[in-house]
């Protein structure tokens, strides 16, 4: 039981809003100590895992300079104005379309999205633009709601699509686990049985995005300020 102390540290640390890096480090050190590792052994583990997992930072660091140039030259503005021309576009439909593309391409083994690569420069501005085309200036709260759901579309699509493809990390990990305990399991079996849940995720998201559209209509449409304000919403947009 004492080994769960790290979980307690994380829970308390998050609850009291200490710096997340500090909480994570302290949780790792205390867990290591109660498990009988020396301080230097724990620091060695941190160092080793930090190096082994450098790939996690690769997409974001590598793409930000490119995205930076494109944003400076009006990528977001263009994405917004393009979507405003599509008469039937709503935030929910933009997000559902993205989720569908993301999940479908992941299911055939393609990893084409990402928060830095597509969500920030394209998906979120288009989702916002679709709402702005209908209701004009959006309240801050609504904008944040749309951005958060854009990230949710990315995560949901990727997670539930990825498991359908036989060569992804998840399926290979499961296969490796069963091999190690001497049970034969086919990769196709695992991949195909994932399909009902993958479809469930799509339907649930569709429902949520519909609700988002209704919420936007209520928050932005009801206030009656559509197009009464000059277009000055770009100020905080790009500050990041």
């Amino acid at each position: 039981m004492i080994k769960l102390i790290g979980i307690l540290v994380v829970a308390l640390g998050f609850a009291f809003r200490f710096n997340t890096l500090l909480v994570v480090t302290v949780a790792g050190i205390t867990t290591g100590l109660v498990a009988g590792y020396s301080f230097n052994e724990i620091i060695t583990l941190f160092g080793q895992f930090f190096i082994d997992n450098r790939y996690m930072s690769l997409p974001i660091i590598l793409t930000l300079p490119v995205i930076g140039i494109l944003e400076r030259y009006g990528l977001k503005e263009r994405a917004e104005s393009l979507i405003k021309k599509a008469k039937n576009a709503t935030t929910g439909r933009v997000l559902l379309t993205y989720l569908f593309i993301r999940e479908g391409s992941a299911a055939i083994g393609l990893n084409i999205g990402g928060h830095a690569q597509t969500v920030r420069p394209l998906v979120a501005p288009m989702a916002e633009g679709a709402a702005a085309a209908r209701y004009g200036e959006l309240p801050e709260k609504t904008k944040n709601d749309i951005k958060a759901h854009s990230a949710a579309a990315e995560n949901t699509g990727w997670f539930f699509g990825e498991d359908i493809f036989i060569a992804t990390g998840a399926i290979l990990l499961m296969k490796g686990f069963f091999d190690s305990v001497g049970i034969h399991v086919g990769v196709w079996d695992m991949a195909l049985w994932g399909i009902p849940t993958a479809i469930t995720a799509l339907i649930v998201s569709w429902f949520r995005f519909n609700r988002l559209d209704k919420r936007i209509a209520r928050e932005a449409g009801g206030s009656g300020n559509s197009s009464s304000l000059p277009k000055k919403n770009d100020k905080e947009e790009g500050v990041l």
Partner: protein
């Protein structure tokens, strides 16, 4: 032998991050010049020399980064946001050409993923097929970068400025995914998973077939939320709960159990701040003040999917 490896890309990342460190170090107006320069400098070192420096020293370097960040000495610079009017002007001038580099990244990543792994020169492979997606992404980004420079005709200093500004806006959270992976690794070395699966197994009447399924799914969900990573939870919870109870005691189908068990874990990933690269880093990228905004958007998706997934497992795992 592989010509292009992840290490090749890590050198590039190291150079990009080093540029950030240098820019911060020479920026006299930076509010936390010393701390931020140390943070980005060390981060650059872990990419450039990560393989050469012994892990113990890397660990202490990381510890310094954590300390500098937690005393509030890593912040963003006062660099100017590009003028919205100027951006609007460029948008009108460049029209849809601005999309070309942005589309090139995913497009070339696909092409690269499908082809790069197959290219060989005698016994020398171009890339390691295991990492082909990441390397394809890396090469796609480099090509997109060249395209972006040509299309916008931006000065060479623009990507450095903008990249530095955006990275500093993400700030210390950029190392959070790596730190959480390290914490997950320490948790599993310390045997935290065995304790969790032991508790679940002891508390619940798992001699009922449905309870076994529920215990496995909930175990995957909770342990993934703790670790921030469904992969780490999988071996522990499947070994501790799934295999002995669902497969061996109740005769369930291991393939179905595993596939749907992993999804139960993913529902956990959608709901935990521990999965920082999916849930916390995006809030920084999207300039959201509420760091839990993405999680809040995902909880109403994750819970229904989790319940339906669990029922699917119960109906499928014992019948096929």
């Amino acid at each position: 032998m592989h010509l292009i490896t992840l290490d090749t890309l890590y050198y590039l990342l190291g150079i990009i991050v080093a540029f950030v460190a240098i820019r911060v170090a020479v920026d006299k107006t930076h509010p936390t010049r010393v701390g931020s320069a140390i943070f980005w400098g060390i981060f650059a070192i872990t990419f450039l020399f990560g393989k050469q420096i012994p892990p113990l020293y890397v660990g202490y370097l990381v510890l310094i980064m954590v300390i500098v960040a937690s005393i509030g000495k890593v912040t963003k610079s006062k660099e100017e946001e590009p003028d919205p009017v100027e951006r609007e002007g460029h948008a009108v001038r460049l029209k849809n050409k601005i999309f070309i580099p942005a589309i090139l990244i995913p497009l070339l990543t696909i092409v690269g993923t499908l082809t790069l792994g197959k290219i060989k020169f005698g016994s020398v492979q171009l890339v390691n097929p295991e990492n082909v997606t990441l390397i394809a992404l890396g090469l796609a980004t480099i090509i997109a970068f060249v395209a972006a420079q040509r299309i916008t005709r931006a000065k060479a200093v623009v990507p450095i400025n903008e990249g530095s500004r955006l990275l500093q806006a993400v700030g210390w959270a950029v190392i959070l995914p790596q730190m959480l992976a390290a914490l997950g690794g320490i948790f599993s070395k310390a045997g935290v998973g065995d304790v969790v699966s032991g508790i679940v197994g002891d508390l619940l009447p798992t001699n009922y077939a449905f309870v076994a399924v529920a215990a496995y799914c909930i175990g995957m969900l909770l342990f993934t939320m703790i670790m921030g990573n469904a992969f780490a939870a999988f071996a522990v919870i499947t070994g501790g709960i799934g295999l002995p109870l669902i497969v061996q005691l109740h005769g369930g189908n291991p393939a179905i159990m595993a596939a749907l068990g992993m999804f139960a874990g993913y529902c956990g990933t959608l709901m935990t701040p521990m999965a920082a690269n999916f849930n916390i880093v995006p809030t920084m990228l999207l300039n959201l003040k509420d760091k839990n905004a993405v999680i809040k958007a995902q909880v109403p998706i994750a819970i229904p999917v989790f319940i339906i997934n669990m029922l699917l497992m119960y109906f499928l795992v014992y019948h096929f």
